[in-house]
């Protein structure tokens, strides 16, 4: 069958024109990526911030034990801290485990070599409990502040300046963005892949099962163009919609999140990390294009067996799940973009895009990722070509069942 690019163009424009007039497709491929998902992310962040704010308001129940008399004012500092409630317990360790006490502060006697009035502190807490862990942090802060004030007073008494008694000081500069920004940069590629799949799903069903349901399939099959041209046009149309959905979503997230989330990122610190470096565009574009082509081919293969839209949705469902399964890889802490990871379809593109968004380019791995995705596209297209050669498939003779086709035609049973 001869492929005519002139016919492909006519068919492609017809598909796009119809799609842009379809409410479901416009909603899923254009409106949802632009509006819904950024709003959902914003809601999620607002919720997380609200909950963490609520947690910060919870008071820590702390027990002080053997506080030296010389440091009675330290007890005052605990008492005056609104986030702390001083408690008593007969068995502190058990109460901490049970969650009825958050932390125990034991003042240990100073060793003989220590200066007078020195003390050591042991904090007993349960790291597995957020409330106890938070109490430990609060104790650290109070004691550190008390120690700084105490040292300063002693220095003043001895006529020493702060700079003199602080032989060295540690200042830190965190080159990474803050935790929330990092989390956001992980979410972006995940949403990008999900949107690629969502963007392809409805066009794939509409252009195959939808044609059968509307009885336009036979009209098209009797047109004076090759089936290859029809298939290629539909394929490019589905891939385009998938690609557009992902990119609209990416831009909408970038545009909205920078401003919406800025106040949450500790007064705007780290929001500069929300900007994707422009030089990463070719890598992101190449990865997205190949993935869109793969997703489009896969979804069309399954959807084309369905006799109507409903069947199409259930046929495509498992492929959609399979597609977003590699996202689970992504949740693994400390996951690095390695050669092995570059061999895992879909997950490799996510890793590649994540690194590119952060301005990191491992070129050999990028090359390997693109080669793997290209291979997936070729395999999917080969399967599609194998399937459409069967006339009974074209006529929809398998009752919407891929399994029946596979059994009868591929396995020859």
């Amino acid at each position: 069958m001869v492929l005519s690019w002139k016919d492909v163009r006519v068919l492609y424009l017809r598909e796009v024109r119809s799609a842009l007039r379809d409410r479901t497709i416009v909603t899923n491929s254009v409106l949802l990526p632009i509006f819904l998902y950024p709003v959902l992310i914003w809601l999620a962040y607002t919720g997380i911030t609200f909950i963490s704010g609520q947690n910060e308001e919870l008071k820590s129940r702390i027990m002080l034990k053997d506080l030296p008399a010389a440091h009675a004012s330290l007890s005052k500092q605990f008492e005056t801290d609104k986030a702390v409630v001083l408690s008593k317990s007969a068995n502190p360790a058990e109460d901490i485990r049970a969650g009825t006490l958050d932390a125990l502060v034991e003042f240990l006697p100073a060793s003989s070599s220590d200066a007078a009035d020195n003390f050591a502190v042991r904090i007993t807490f349960d790291e597995s409990q957020d409330q106890s862990d938070r109490a430990k942090r609060r104790i650290d802060q109070i004691i550190s502040k008390y120690r700084d004030d105490f040292l300063q007073q002693q220095a003043v008494r001895l006529g020493i300046s702060r700079e003199q008694y602080q032989n060295f000081k540690v200042d830190d500069k965190n080159l990474s963005s803050n935790r929330q920004v990092s989390a956001f940069m992980i979410i972006l590629p995940i949403f990008f892949i999900v949107m690629l799949a969502v963007g392809a799903m409805h066009p794939a069903i509409d252009s195959t099962a939808g044609e059968r349901e509307n009885s336009t399939w036979e009209t098209m099959m009797s047109a004076a163009t090759s089936r290859t041209s029809i298939l290629v046009a539909k394929y490019f149309y589905v891939a385009t919609m998938s690609f557009i959905a992902a990119f609209l979503n990416l831009f909408a997230m970038m545009a909205s999140m920078g401003t919406v989330l800025a106040p949450m990122f500790q007064g705007g610190r780290g929001t500069s990390s929300l900007r994707i470096p422009i030089e990463s565009a070719p890598v992101i574009l190449a990865g997205a294009a190949l993935l869109a082509l793969f997703v489009a081919a896969g979804m069309m293969i399954f959807a084309s067996f369905a006799r109507n839209y409903k069947e199409g949705q259930s046929m495509v469902g498992p492929f959609y799940i399979a597609l977003i399964m590699p996202i689970m890889f992504f949740q693994t802490p400390g996951l690095a973009f390695t050669t092995r990871m570059a061999l895992v379809p879909v997950a490799n593109v996510m890793m590649m895009i994540r690194e590119a968004m952060q301005g990191i380019y491992h070129w050999p791995l990028i090359g390997l990722t693109l080669a793997v995705e290209f291979g997936c596209v070729i395999i999917a297209l080969r399967i599609a070509v194998l399937i459409i050669q069967h006339e009974d498939f074209v006529m929809g003779s398998y009752n919407g069942s891929f399994g029946k086709f596979a059994k009868e035609r591929l396995l020859g049973k």
Binding site: S222, T225, S226, D392
Partner: protein, 251 residues
């Protein structure tokens, strides 16, 4: 010079899980002559649609040959499709395109010369009286209007051969008469038409030659006058019943 449509020993066998091999069309032969309407008259399941699908290259024959304007249905399916317009109850229109876009799309995809497409679209809108609905989406049109647009899209690329597979199924009397009139007018314009139906009055009214098809075989093929003469029956319904019951073969 050979006839525009020549069918020779055409056959189609399907495999059904429950019923095994099914001969939907069993070695049929016929010819259609230029400017004539050739009727395929048969009950449901007689093999009409399968035959017409093979002629329009949607299905590939299991055996036999057929040619449309000299193009073989197996060897040159695109040449065949370029020369014919196929209309059936299962060839619907794209609901989200307008009438004008529909005609233009089918003219272009059926290889009508690009530079003449706008002129052709305007002609067909005028010819089928579609002005009022030219820019309305198909999904907004009434059944009758959809039929008109369907016929317009079938002839969008001005094919020499037209296939109408039960075109009046599901239409009310007035719309059915409109469709019949349109088909009759297309014959007057010199088109060669293959028309399938199970409605006797339609076949009587429209067809120059009628083939009675049953069980995948053509039992008789002649003009209405010829069929009357060979059976001694006047009404086509009686002729049809006679052939089907007797299984008489007078090809």
């Amino acid at each position: 010079m050979s006839a525009p449509v020549v069918v020779s020993n055409l056959a189609k066998t399907f495999y059904d899980e429950g019923r095994g091999q099914i001969k939907a069309v069993d070695s049929i032969s016929f010819e259609c002559h230029e400017g004539q309407i050739f009727g395929l008259l048969g009950a449901n399941g007689a093999g009409k649609t399968t035959t017409l699908r093979m002629l329009s290259t949607i299905l590939t024959p299991t055996a036999g040959t057929a040619s449309i304007m000299g193009h073989d249905v197996v060897k040159d399916p695109e040449g065949v499709r370029k020369s014919l317009g196929f209309y059936s109850a299962t060839t619907a229109l794209y609901p989200r395109l307008t009438t004008r876009e529909t005609i233009e799309f089918f003219a272009r995809i059926n290889q009508y010369p690009s530079e003449r497409v706008p002129e052709r679209v305007e002609y067909l809108i005028h010819r089928f009286d579609l002005h009022k609905y030219a820019d309305a989406r198909i999904e907004k049109l009434s059944s009758g209007m959809k039929q008109k647009v369907s016929i317009a899209r079938t002839v969008a690329h001005d094919p020499a051969i037209l296939i109408f597979d039960e075109p009046t199924v599901g239409l009310d009397v007035l719309n059915a008469l409109d469709v019949q009139d349109s088909i009759s007018e297309l014959r007057s314009e010199g088109k060669t038409i293959i028309f399938s139906t199970h409605i006797m009055s339609e076949a009587e009214r429209l067809c120059d030659r009628i083939a009675i098809i049953h069980g995948g075989q053509i039992l008789a093929s002649d003009t209405l006058a010829g069929l009357r003469e060979s059976t001694g029956q006047h009404y086509l319904e009686d002729i049809f019943v006679l052939y089907v019951k007797a299984g008489l073969e007078t090809v």
